[in-house]
Amino acid sequence: MIIIDKNQVKLILILLGSSRQARTINNRLEVVLAGENASIEVVGLVLGKGDESRALEAYITHAAPNTKSNVKVRAVLRDKSTFAFRGNVRIERGAKGADAYLRSDALLFDESKMSDDSPALEILEPEVKAGHAATIGKVDEQMLFYLMSRGLSRSRSEKLLIQGFINPLLEKLKLASKSKVKSFEF
């Protein structure tokens, strides 16, 4: 469990999918925002191929006022890979001014599966901002069509769209690995 104290700001980076890793990985992340103004950002990038099965669990608890959490997970799944994401953001009573956002997006190809996607919220305090969103699907056919109408092959167009999909997160990962922010690589 990671405890974030008063005024602390933390960025947690998760990259599931580099070729060095074992095929089946389960990851569980527990964060408690324990002090005022504590802030956590979780950036997760998940790449699956072959018959890899990946899972990520993120449990965030806001236990103090003006705490902030932002969880962004993006997954690109190919072949027969599967990914399961379970997120839970809980805002305890009294954590006034908490700001929580939980988001997961998945791009599916071939016979891949989003076996489970559960971004849950538990809110016990009204003075908060909380939201979550999730999307699951293929690359946008219209965008694909547009690129292909400009002369790109289907696979090239798909690659471009995937790049566009993961780039915002990839940038964060790159940036962080240069700075002193602690980065977790599973």
């Binding site: 799944l77 009573r93 009294g94 998945a106 599916l108 190809f109 071939d110 016979e111 891949s112 599966k113 989003m114 076996s115 489970d116 996607d117 559960s118 971004p119 849950a120 919220l121 538990e122 809110i123 016990l124 305090e125 009204p126 003075e127 908060v128 901002k129 909380a130 939201g131 979550h132 969103a133 999730a134 999307t135 699951i136 699907g137 293929k138």
Partner: protein, 465 residues
Amino acid sequence: MPNGVIVPTDYKYGFSKPESYVFKAKKGLSKSVVEQISSMKNEPGWMREQRLKALEIFFSKKMPKWGADLYAINFDDIYYYIKPIDRQAKSWDELPKEIRETYDAIGIPEAEKKFLAGVTAQYESEAIYHSFKKQWEDKGVIFLDFDSGLRQYPELVKQYFGRAVPAADNKFAALNSAVWSGGSFIYVPKGVSVDIPLQAYFRINAANMGQFERTLIIVDEGAYVSYIEGCSAPVYTVDSLHAAVVEIFVKKGARCRYTTIQNWSSNVYNLVTKRAFVEEEGTMEWVDGNIGSRTSMKYPSCYLVGQRARGEILSLSMAGYGQHQDVGGKLMFLAPDTSGEIISKSVSHSSGRTSYRGLVKVIKGAERVKCNVRCDALILDEKSRSDTYPTMQVGEDNVRISHEASVSKIDADQLFYLMSRGLSEIEATSLIVNGFIEPVVRELPLEYAVELNRLIQLNMEDAIG
């Protein structure tokens, strides 16, 4: 408040009439009680068998480990069958005076006079009042209470009973299958469109009494029907249990809309299994409003089994003091080109708790599925709680699934603006809440929308006043 029994003193429909029952099974559940119910109803052998089988399943199943807290249900302290009058009344005037008064208080005759065509009024465990417009009967539409349906159309009932919701589905479906009584049976023949909603009122009126109605709706190819079920129960001090089962079959190209406004008094456990099977190009729409009850667990679901079938779930829930609304919906995409939408609006106040719980499942091969889920929650005060538990399981890549949720409180600027225009805090809050739930309310028939607006005002008086 004593014993955690939570009843606002100004609960509008909180009246109860002296009990005048012809038959009351003894408390508790056993094989003999089930047999007694079956023989009271003069049922065919197969139904009796089904009941007894379901009873065994009920005893063998454990209570659900997820969802709302059901610890206080005592299955031995419930009457499983009460029959209020000997035979069915054909007209309003034939009904016993007390029962008539109860209905007058919630305005059924008025509503009927205006534009409701058929009314099945369920008082206690039996449908006692039944009227039906002749024009539909001529078209071959069947709208009966379930017991009459079973008597008059045994083959049709046998063919579909338990096919969408088998007794083994969950503990409360098993309970219902064992002790069910009352409910509605509807059959709409091919190509027939029933323009005016069919309507049934359900009530619980005996302390400790469970209500286990069973509803079966079959909408044949190309047909359309809208069914409305409203509940408004008197207040009692002992916990009651309501475990209903609704099964719907939407055939090719047919459309069905099922509207519920549930306003059980705040000591009722409302545990309902509602499921629709939708065939090719069919559409199922659930409009599900949960205002009352102590605890609700209800997830209307659409099993989209035919190509291009569509399922829509509009869910509205409101939880005040001592209430937990654990509601939502389930969309199962089992065929290509199916689509669906869930919209959920929940409001929690006065230490109430609302939980949205939903499942979106796409199986492999269900290509080009489109699904959108949106849940918004409003929390009015610091003691209340709001949860969102969405689950998506997607086994097909060629799909488009999205989910979005937000939790907010009443905007202080909006409140200030309205109050600066001369509205009281209660009025302003009701107005904002009514605006928040409007996307669901606008799908309701007028008289329900009006009643709902009044109920919200009433709730806000509790919450703020």
